[in-house]
């Protein structure tokens, strides 16, 4: 074998190896996973909306406390003269108002909580999709210990990166 043949052989081998590496890299499926529960819990919009909901609940609780106090006073008056029709009517009126408002607040709280949850998922889904696009991911799987991902190496876990990314996106950075 001449020196030139050896060189040509080596060069061909290198080119074939490079081709294989490029092909494997290009066709490799980029699959990552996130702990969705953790991402959701640490998403700043969720925290901010929870605070808004707490503030709303606090105001409505104050109003309910006030109605409850009125009901107690009416009840005390009724205990003093149980057969007084005016006091019975007053007690019933206050109690009815208390029960109605209490039910209304419960429904309102549930509706607002659902609305906020939709808003959190709306933004979170969008930002995760953007992350996937920006980082050329083929799949981003969501695992949260419910058996949806039974095993993966830690190198495929992008939970912390995702938390930083979605919070940065939410802050408009």
């Amino acid at each position: 074998m001449t020196k030139r043949t050896v060189l040509l052989f080596l060069l061909t081998n290198i080119m074939v190896a490079a081709g294989i590496i490029i092909y494997v890299e290009a066709t490799r499926t980029k699959t990552y996973y996130i702990d969705l529960q953790k991402v959701y819990t640490e998403f700043e919009l969720k925290t901010e909306l929870e605070q808004k909901l707490e503030a709303m609940v606090s105001i409505t609780n104050e109003q309910l406390d006030s109605l409850e106090m009125q009901a107690r006073v009416a009840n005390n008056h009724l205990q003093m003269s149980p057969s007084d029709q005016n006091r019975i009517r007053e007690y019933n009126r206050v109690m009815e108002r208390y029960v109605t408002r209490s039910e209304e607040f419960d429904i309102q709280k549930k509706q607002v909580a659902e609305e906020y949850d939709q808003q959190v998922w709306g933004q979170l889904n969008e930002y995760i999709r953007e992350y996937g696009k920006e980082n050329n991911c083929d799949f981003i799987l969501a695992g949260n210990g419910d058996g949806s991902i039974m095993y993966s190496t830690d190198s495929r876990d992008i939970t912390d990166k995702m938390i930083t990314y979605v919070n940065g996106k939410y802050q408009g950075k």
Binding site: L45, E48, L49, E115, Y116, Q118, Q119, V120, G122, Q123, E126, K169, Y170, Q171, G172, K173
Partner: protein, 203 residues
């Protein structure tokens, strides 16, 4: 010594060219604004709506609104009016570019009127800027009704800074949406960008 003689003029030239770049002619300023769209314009897509926020430097606004601006005095007096004002425009439309904010994803026709009322009269209190520890309310608001001729509606906003002479801190624009179920929408403008906006000069 020879090296020093070479280095000093080169460094001076570089510094001079840098400082010249910060003072731009009207044509250069428009070109700079076009080239800086990534920093000036921010976009988010949420729930089928696209929110596009445009930061409008006072000088760009002056150039757009004052054709034939010929003297430095006229420019200075217009700058004084704009001093301390942060001008922002937010366009909202559907992500498919088919319908405007008022028409997109309507469940019932009544929603159209609710949106119209909210965006023309009620939204201003849900818009604010945060600069450092200061929360700045929206002091001027105008809603551009386009009657679905264009696929977006624009909200023109002005915010007044607490201290117009202080260097900018990072600015967060916040819109607490109550109509589109999009949640709290935030956009950030970095102080490094805001404190290095070029100056306009009528040459």
């Amino acid at each position: 010594m020879r090296k020093l003689l070479f280095i000093i003029p080169v460094v001076s030239l570089v510094l001079l060219s840098c400082s010249d770049r910060r003072t731009l002619s009207p044509e250069q300023y428009i070109a700079w604004a076009k080239a800086s769209q990534k920093e000036l314009i921010k976009t988010k897509e949420i729930n089928g709506y696209r929110f596009t926020l445009k930061f409008q430097p006072a000088e760009l606004l002056i150039l757009k609104n004052a054709e034939g601006l010929t003297s430095e005095d006229a420019l200075d007096s217009m700058k004084k009016i704009q001093k301390g004002i942060v001008n922002l425009v937010m366009d909202i439309g559907s992500t498919d570019n088919q319908q405007s904010l008022l028409r997109a994803n309507l469940a019932v026709e009544e929603e159209y009127y609710q949106r119209m009322y909210y965006y023309t009269t009620d939204v201003q209190k849900d818009l604010y800027l945060v600069e450092g520890k200061d929360t700045l309310p929206c002091v001027f608001y105008h809603f551009e009704q386009t009657f679905n001729i264009t696929p977006v509606n624009s909200m023109i906003m002005e915010f007044e800074r607490k201290d117009p002479n202080a260097p900018y801190k990072d600015i967060y624009f916040i819109y607490e949406d109550r109509i589109l179920n999009a949640g709290i929408i935030k956009f950030q403008y970095k102080k490094s960008f805001l404190n290095n906006l070029p100056k306009l000069k009528i040459l």
